[in-house]
């Protein structure tokens, strides 16, 4: 119950925004940065294996930008940190289970961070991600109730409708009716 209330701030419509920060183990930042930069992109991205995922970003930061004379004192980081964000359909737990099951690469990025328990124990994995989750802030989506599968299906349908509309220009009513039944 409390979790559901807490999660409200991460959610809009059917979309959920996960934001996490993990401390990178000392001495592992360079290899982690290189690993992330070399990960396949697009359809080959490890995230493409998860059908409920709209957006994911994994970034490492080692310093905080000083904002000039107006900032009193400089914040100097002792460690590098990993920011991991996702925008997903539905609830967090099923996403984390899918992440653990389908994205072994998670061991590579969080495995170089403090306290990561691995993916083998799913409840420990979920607890870890919850433990590094940032508090809710404000999240907005231009498509708050459209799931990834629905977006893809709608894009494909729109394309088919356009092709069909072009192909039936000038047809009489009988031919149009018959062509529609063949096509859709």
């Amino acid at each position: 119950m409390l979790r559901r209330i807490f999660d409200r701030g991460h959610r809009v419509g059917s979309a959920y925004a996960l934001t996490t920060f993990a401390r990178v183990l000392d001495g592992r930042a360079d290899e982690l940065e290189a690993y992330l930069a070399a990960l396949p992109r697009g359809a080959e991205s490890p995230f493409a294996r998860i059908g409920t995922l709209h957006i994911a970003r994994v970034q490492l930061f080692r310093e905080l930008v000083h904002q000039g004379p107006a900032q009193k004192g400089r914040d100097v980081l002792r460690h590098a940190h990993l920011a991991f964000t996702s925008t997903i359909d539905g609830d967090l737990e099923p996403y984390l289970d899918e992440l653990a099951a389908k994205v072994p690469e998670a061991d590579e990025w969080w495995g170089r961070c403090v306290g990561y328990p691995g993916r083998g124990d799913r409840s420990a994995f979920r607890r870890y991600v919850r433990s590094i989750q940032a508090p809710p802030g404000l999240f907005r989506s231009a498509m708050p109730n459209a799931r990834v599968g629905e977006v893809r299906a709608a894009l494909a349908l729109r394309s088919r409708v356009i092709d069909f509309a072009v192909s039936v220009q000038g047809l009489d009513a009988d031919a149009l009716h018959a062509r529609f039944r063949e096509t859709f």
């Binding site: 403090v114 404000l138 999240f139 907005r140 231009a142």
Partner: protein, 181 residues
């Protein structure tokens, strides 16, 4: 801004900037109140190139002693951010000043140029970035969803019609959906 911040047609912009402690309550409250105001959601998303956007206050980082709390901002939108900063700077300057102006050294817009320089300086680079519909703009996605809704209605309404009535219904559908095709 390239590499880890670009996926297909999408750009991810991440900023991590300090907040003055005396304004923390204001920002904390503002983000919570805005959640519950539908007109503010419409206001934020009036730019039809933004897919997802989030703000989160980060009061601390593991293992660090920070003088400031930080505001984490992530926006996912079509195309390079430089194209849109003018729109932000001139259309919603107050929103921007109210939010990021709670931190030190923020160049309150307008004009847009100092804001562009500030974003370039604060943008987090590198890493990896994925978007499930990266090759489709925000407008394309929303148009596709609008066509889907109208097409479903058309299918339902045209079921069982004879050919002449079906053609009339098809033309009505096209007229209704043409702005989204």
């Amino acid at each position: 801004m390239t590499g880890g911040n670009v996926a297909g047609r999408m750009t991810g912009l991440t900023l991590f900037t300090p907040v003055r402690r005396r304004w923390l309550w204001f920002l904390w409250l503002g983000l919570r109140v805005t959640r519950h105001l539908p007109f503010m959601a419409r206001h934020i998303l009036q730019f039809n190139f933004i897919k997802f956007v989030r703000w989160t206050i980060v009061p601390r980082l593991d293992g660090e002693k920070l003088r400031y709390p930080y505001l984490f901002f992530e926006s996912n939108f079509d195309g390079p951010w430089q194209h849109y900063i003018d729109a932000f700077a001139y259309v919603i300057p107050l929103d921007i000043r109210v939010t990021w102006g709670r931190g030190p050294g923020f160049p309150a817009p307008p004009p847009a140029e100092p804001l562009k320089a500030w974003i370039a300086r604060n943008s987090m680079e590198g890493g990896t970035y994925y978007c499930a519909h990266a090759e489709h703009s925000t407008r394309e996605v929303n148009n596709a969803l609008a066509v889907r809704d109208r097409f479903e209605r058309f299918r339902r309404d045209s079921a069982g019609l004879d050919a002449a009535a079906f053609k009339a219904e098809w033309e009505r559908f096209l007229s209704d959906a043409q702005a989204h095709l």
